[in-house]
Amino acid sequence: MNLTRRDFLKAFGLSAAALGLGAKFPAAPLALAPKRAPIVPHGGNAMLMDTTKCVGCKSCQLACKKKNGLPIDDQPVSLCATALCYVDMKNVSPDPSKPVIQPIKRQCMNCNDPACVSACTVGALQKLSTGPVVYDSNRCIGCRYCMYACPFGIPTFEWDKQFSLMKKCNQCADLQAAGQLPACAKACPTGAIQYGRRDDLLTIARQRINDPQGKYVKHIYGETEVGGTSMLYLAAVPFQALGLPALPDVSPAEASQMIMHSTPLVAATVATVLTGLYFVTRRLTAQPTTVPVHPHIGGH
């Protein structure tokens, strides 16, 4: 659906004069907008989770809570403001009487072309060239647009507070900058989470899925989804069964930004057309040149 719709948008480009939809307009003031992911050549840093190696011990979830100063005594049932990393115990068996549990660690995918960054009203979200999508809690106004924009439904919200802010994982951007491992990758006892350069991880992942004896689904989730993500997954069962949505290869931000960038063109066109109409119709209706304002104004 999305691809055809996007083609349609391009085909619709000729109506740019009507509302400027689809026209890529190089607007000068767009310097104010966050830059589009100037990723370093090797793809920045990333994490690879091999779900087949995960035993569901939830050490990563606990380490994440500790690292982010979140309460460790609750039992989250999904991603939430107190669990930015959540180990989801998925039943992947098609037969309800014989459940088969496959854990998967879920968190922000730190997309390469993040919809949340494009959507954020106040530019509180930013994609670093090294990989992480970071968040400035001093800017956020809590509008929750990012929650709807994110194709993975990742950003959470501090519903319980009087002044609520958005919360999400940023792949421990501070630890990464200090040359350390993200907390979850460090905590995992089985090596299910690997941290490194994105292109190295893709090479490792490709070796695993191409292994003839391998049990893997032949797809690296996150390699191309919504323009690629800094979180990669391998699995032995279909990714949708693990709760990872099937997504197109382009970010939802693309169509939206295409339209947003046409704004100056739309404004100029509408204003010009209206001004033209004013002079044409004034001539046609042969009205006096002064504008007859309300007769009662100042009529004392």
Binding site: R144, D160, K161, Q257, V266, V293
Partner: protein, 445 residues
Amino acid sequence: MIPQPLIDAVIVLALFILRIGLPLGLLMSIGYWLQRKLRPEDFESATTFDGKLTWRKRLGREINALPAWFPIVAMLMAIGAGAGVYRLAAGLGASTNLSQAYPWGLWIGFDLFMVAFSGGAFTLAAIVYVLNMRQFHAAIRPTVLTGLLGYASVLIILMMDLGRWDRFYHFIIYPNLNSALFEVSWCILLYTTVLVIEFMPVALERTRWERAKNLLRKLPVPLAIVGATLSSLHQSSLGTLFVIMSERVHPLWYTPIIPLLFFISSIAAGLAMVVAGGTLSYWVFKRSLSQELVGGLGKFIPWVLGVYAVIKLGELVYIGETGMIFSSGVYSALFLTEMIVGVLIPIVLFALRGCRASRAWSLVGAVTVLFGILLNRFDVAWFTLKPVPGYTYFPSLIEILIQIGVFAAIVFVYTLVGHYLPLFEGLAPVEQTPEPNVFRPEHAY
């Protein structure tokens, strides 16, 4: 076996009655009772008093001169304000039913349709000042006021919706030009300013500030052009909001050209508001445009809705999703209701000369347009979002009370302005022998 969609519909209906109808009815009856208490006979007899009025009696008389619904509306507004204070003090989680899967709800739906309904202000200003159809001029003042109140209420509700409402000004100092919500906020702010300036003549008319009045006399045409430009930007970028939500909005509604659809339908909604306002102000305030002119505005509606329908359905044909129109269960029902009640019926009605000549039928036609667009905005923002297992959304009592309070505030201010300011000047009582008008101050005493 009863089909599941039917059961769903019945449950939603029951919820609406229980959660919205009941509290509203209860509040209205208390208000009615209070109003009877507030307007005892001795306020009347106070007029024969020896000229010295206590403030209490004076206030009583002023209230007495206002229309009967005023105290009810004032009370609903006060309750809404109380609920608003509770929301700000308690936080979003405690006061709303919003959740991880439904971070936006009733309030955003309200913002969407209220902005569309307020489209009358830019449409009419463009018709009168840009297209030079000055015959519609007399309807400008009430329409601009409706628009102004609509946008002001949207600003209040938007503020209620922010997790950090104390930082509402951040969108001014931290711009993100890629964000549709950024553009919406800016345009609404600027356009509300335009509306305030457009409304100034009414506020200043009875003052002696001649310089300001002279300045305002030069402004209508540029203001109409700026206002229509800003409106075309934010009416459409309210649609752009949903372009990024390709994974959540149902394919029948999701399209990258949703901004265009929002913009065109806002023109239809705006025209319908002016037409409905024509009949309502005729009935309630005994003043209105002549039905000939109201019908003249109604003539535009089939054209605008026609363009809307062609683009909306044309896009589905182009994509090849026409089959979904009939095969998507509840979604089909919603889509067809929108298209039949909100588009087809008004096109037919306003194409008929008999309908345009009748105040009552024009009102019916206008209400169907407004209903269709209201449903469309709620469909996009709420009803057709892909369900997330384990989550449902229905607004909480606080959300509803704040919403009702905002509606009440609109009626409250409108009544006051109509009572004390020259809002209906130029709108002569038409097609009827003039009656004493409760809205003219000289009749208030």
